[in-house]
């Protein structure tokens, strides 16, 4: 079932379509919520809220716009509303206990670095540890940068589409993307006491 069929089926309240929809999007919504909320349990709660909102508002969705843009703007707004209502969640990062996690990642990083000559960067990126390392680093960024990086790389969105999701001008989104990449690199270099990345 393609996106159009999925929306049509959901609009008439089809349970099976919604099951498929949940399977297709739950991890993406969760991953995006995590960038703003940064706590697993809360991000799962946000994900539930987002699905409920989508379920109740699917009628209002215009076929002309892209489903993913609509879903991720709901996700971003829901997570942001939560943060505004619970500002105590906006703790300064990194948390002290996270240092031990970095030590664990550092060992993984050494193994990964050792592979770099024999393996392409693509294969390396598939390495499960590098995913942990990247997400860990991204979570040390200001949340807007984390959100932009997530939408750009994970959701493969164009800059223009990202502006629709987070409601910021094109150049601001580009700045967040640039600074996010730059800062992420700095974080990784510092944590792994290395001079260059793969």
């Amino acid at each position: 079932m393609n996106e159009q069929e999925l929306i049509a089926a959901m609009k008439i309240g089809d349970k099976y379509a919604f099951d498929q929809f949940i399977n297709d999007y739950r991890d993406y919504i969760f991953t995006l919520s995590m960038r703003v909320i940064k706590k697993k349990e809360l991000a799962e709660e946000i994900t539930q809220d987002v699905f409920l909102k989508i379920y109740q508002n699917i009628e209002t969705f215009k076929q002309a716009s892209k489903l993913s843009t609509w879903i991720y703007s709901i996700t971003y707004r829901t997570a942001l509303n939560y943060l505004q209502q619970n500002p105590q969640q906006l703790q300064p990062l990194p948390e002290p206990k996270d240092q031990s996690d970095w030590t664990e990642h550092k060992n993984a990083w050494k193994q990964i670095s050792a592979l770099q000559d024999s393996q392409a960067s693509e294969g390396l990126a598939e390495h499960v540890n590098i995913q942990h390392i990247l997400w860990k680093g991204i979570d040390q960024l200001p949340y807007v940068q984390g959100v932009v990086i997530t939408l750009y790389y994970l959701n493969q969105m164009k800059i223009k589409e990202i502006t629709d999701v987070i409601d910021l001008p094109v150049n601001t989104v580009k700045t967040h993307l640039f600074r996010g990449r730059k800062e992420l690199r700095r974080i990784l270099l510092t944590q792994f006491e290395t001079e260059d990345l793969i």
Binding site: T31, Q56, L154, K182
Partner: protein
């Protein structure tokens, strides 16, 4: 020598390397600072390019699916609202028009009262009251007629709304049944 590349330029170059302008390319070829900055961005870009989703709790999807099933769909909630509004309209119109006293009757009574009850020596008050009654009486006659007319049109509208809603529900049930069969295959 042109100025260094902006953050925006770097993002554009990485996104579409083929679309770099001649000026930017020329600057880039000769400027080590920009080359280094771009190289840094490119390396991080290559790493991030294969970013994968973070899995959420598996059970939670089942919980959510169950939770969603328990909530009536938005369209069903809307239907209930339309039905409630329709019913309220019918009840309201019934209450307005079924009473023994219509607006016309009420003002005819008032007119009689003022002529009989107000003291004959209080002529000013009596004149005012009589005038008000006389103005209100034809106005209310007109309103009464309007309410009668409105009753008919409202009944018509409510009836059409209910019929449409019925058609809509049946239509959806049929499509839904068809789709459920499709999904099972």
């Amino acid at each position: 020598m042109t100025s260094h590349l902006s953050e925006k330029d770097m993002v554009d170059i990485i996104e579409s390397p083929d679309l770099v302008s001649y000026e930017l390319r020329q600057h880039l070829d000769t400027c080590q600072v920009c080359q280094n900055a771009l190289d840094t961005q490119q390396k991080m870009h290559n790493m991030l390019y294969h970013l994968q989703v973070q899995p959420s709790n598996k059970n939670y999807a089942a919980i959510l699916a169950k939770k969603l099933r328990q909530i009536p769909a938005a369209w069903l909630q809307d239907s209930v609202v339309y039905l409630a509004i329709g019913l309220l309209l019918i009840i309201g119109i019934y209450l307005i028009t079924s009473g023994q006293q219509t607006g016309t009757d009420f003002w005819r009574m008032q007119s009689l009262k003022t002529t009989t009850e107000i003291q004959p020596n209080n002529r000013v008050l009596k004149t005012i009251a009589t005038n008000i009654s006389q103005v209100m009486h034809p106005l209310l006659s007109w309103l009464d007629a309007y309410i009668q007319l409105k009753l008919n049109s409202v009944t018509l509208i409510v009836f059409s709304m209910i019929s449409l809603l019925f058609y809509y529900t049946i239509d959806r049930l049929i499509i839904r049944k068809k789709l459920e069969l499709t999904f099972r295959q």
